[in-house]
Amino acid sequence: MSFIQSRTDVHDVVVIGSGAGGATVAHVLTGLGVRVTLLEAGPMLDPLAEFKEHRWPYDYDHRGAESGGRRYFGGGKPFGFFTTTSGGWELDGEPYTVADDTEGFWWFRSRIVGGRTNHYGRISLRFSDYDFTPRDRDGLGWNWPIGYDDLAPYYDKAEAFIGVVGSREGIRSAPDGIFHDPPPPKAHELLIQRASRRMGIPCIPNRRAVITRAINGRPACHYCGQCGRGCVGGSNYSASQTQIFPALETGRLEVVDLAMARAITTDETGRVDGVVYIDKRTGRERRLRCRALVLAASACESSRLLLNSKTAEHPEGVGNSSGVVGRYLMDTVGFDIGGTVPALEGLPRYNSDGAGGAHLYMPWWGWERQEALGFPRGYHIEIGGGYGMPGIGSFVGSARRAGYGTAIKEQARRDYGTRVAFAGRGEMIPNERSFCEIDPDAVDRFGIPVLRFHFHWSDHERRQARHMRETFHELIALMGGEPQPPGRRDASGISIGGSIIHEVGTVRMGDDPRSSALNGFCQSHDASNLFVCDAASFVSNPDKNPTLTINALAWRAAEYLAEALRSGDL
């Protein structure tokens, strides 16, 4: 390989990706005195220019329908004009492909400092102790090489630093953590809670990465409920504002933005010695040399980079002597149902914005009677409702029912605030038919070979989704409401693979180098100075949204890496 331009100095640690994993590594390492160079495929984030916090629909002539009314034609920004999503399901010039045998797979990519943490739901759940030993429970999948006790101190550190609201409940499926005081339940949530208690389902304060008292120079939440738009003041967790920006202030972090990694290079001993990337500003190829490399580009993007890095010492791709890179791709089992609850008609109006997202949720409750349920593993339930800010589409259903005239206004006043929603988020069992690989026939605009996805739900997931449907119907019926059909899904009612944006696995950790790529410290079995600190290391995908566990695993790996650098092991 020849390089048009190379930097000759050797960087201590190069990190690829600035989301939850990469930013945690950058923050922890710079805090321990290590110099870090971070490559991000997108631009630097400017919250003042990017975030639409506090804006009204009428601040824009298109009111949120976007230019030419794109939303009316199924287009526009994913999750709406006002969210701060940068990127989307499709990126210009950066395709991926889906294998013929696969019904569908969606891949959401954010190219910007902070990645998907700028807009994510911020639900922050610890794995349970039993989540680390799934094979021992039901003979399916594989156990993790680490246990809850290994990770608990890092959940503590991550929660204490990023800030998570929650309450101590003593529920085994939802281990307690270091919490900020949670906001009180919203009115509709109290009704849902009464229904869930009738069914024996716990409904407890939600756990989200929002702070209700000031920490680390970040002000307490001001309850505008607009976390998804980005918080200019940084009262919620985003990898950019919470970790990258403070790390920059240490003077030990250099961010190289608009840098698209193409390949990892290795020396004659098989150790990683650098990374080749495309400078998007010039289109030129550059190379950075490093003592250690941390991949945190998002699970599938990290797999892609490893598989695209075939060297003499690593003919199957760097770190892939086991052949597992790309394998055992998982998403979360998603099943959503909304309902209209007439009992909420006439509820006094009040400001229900709150701390963004729901103030209550339902952790999994059936771990002691899995066999009776007829499916393995569990799910938690996220809830929606309340007096949201009116926007494009909010009252189109009311208008259709009313016809036209003042009847529309009367219908809208009656309907407002009567809609509730339930979203099941469940565990998928890893399977042999769900993986990503390099497509031999497609490259992106940089000439880098792209991923081809294979994805299949099994009967385990289909039975779980059926249970979600029955549970949600019963909850809605207990409240005297009417269920409405779910949104995007495949024929069985489950979400399209990848669409929950919890894609994990593909570079899994394990004790055996023949069947895993990383050890319990996210360190490559094949190249000791290579770490993978995003969700690629996941062995299973419990019903706990992955970000907090990415934070904890990355924190633990970063401390281990810092010690190895200090002691001279690397």
Partner: protein, 210 residues
């Protein structure tokens, strides 16, 4: 497209927002008072449009869309009309940016006038209030599958478009947002759920036997 908000951002607002922000340049001093000021300043930036010159529609089309908006969401005790909320301008603007949308409206408005002429021998806007309502009643009946209105079924697609966009324009305007009673998008020092709302829900749960 330059938005009203972007065009109207004041130097004061920029300074305020800089003082609040956690950015790559560092964290500012944030407090609830300052957050409230940002919310208030975001409001100041909005200006009401004066005389509007349609960008996509001719004068007759714009008059027709305006009359439809008035009929679909009229003023009542709870608030003004969709015309007060800027629905005709909203529809015209988006049509001016999207030939597919303009085609839907141009064809739909032509269908409306043709149907009005056939029955009343004049265009929709000139047919008068009672006949206009008669046509809309017929369109609503047609979309609900009432057989007597079968000849209007061809117009229900367009009627859906104009109703959807009119309703969206109304409920995304200050008067529509006030109409349904949305009270959020504010900076608060603390969050509480209105006690009367909590009591209401407890009573409903009791009635449901929960």
């Amino acid at each position: 497209m330059t938005t009203r908000a972007e065009a109207g951002v004041t130097r004061r607002e920029v300074l305020r927002r800089l003082a609040l922000a956690v950015t790559a340049a560092g964290a500012g001093a944030f407090n609830v008072e300052a957050a409230r000021a940002v919310h208030a300043l975001a409001g100041e930036a909005r200006a009401q449009a004066g005389g509007y010159s349609p960008a996509a529609f001719d004068a007759h089309q714009f008059r027709t869309v305006t009359r439809l908006a008035e009929l679909i969401v009229p003023a009542d005790g709870g608030g003004g009309s969709a015309v007060d909320a800027g629905a005709p301008e909203f529809i015209d603007l988006l049509c001016s940016q999207n030939p597919d949308l303009l085609r839907i409206y141009a064809d739909g408005l032509e269908w409306l006038d043709t149907a009005a002429r056939r029955t009343y021998d004049r265009t929709f806007v000139d047919a008068g209030d009672a006949r206009q309502r008669e046509m809309l009643d017929g369109l609503v009946a047609a979309e609900r599958g009432a057989s007597s209105a079968a000849e209007l079924r061809a117009g229900t697609g367009f009627f859906n478009w104009v109703r959807m966009m009119t309703v969206d324009a109304y409920y995304t305007s200050p008067i529509g947002i006030a109409d349904v009673g949305f009270q959020g998008n504010r900076a608060l020092a603390g969050y509480r759920t209105l006690p009367e709302a909590v009591e209401f829900v407890a009573r409903k749960a009791d009635e449901l036997g929960l």
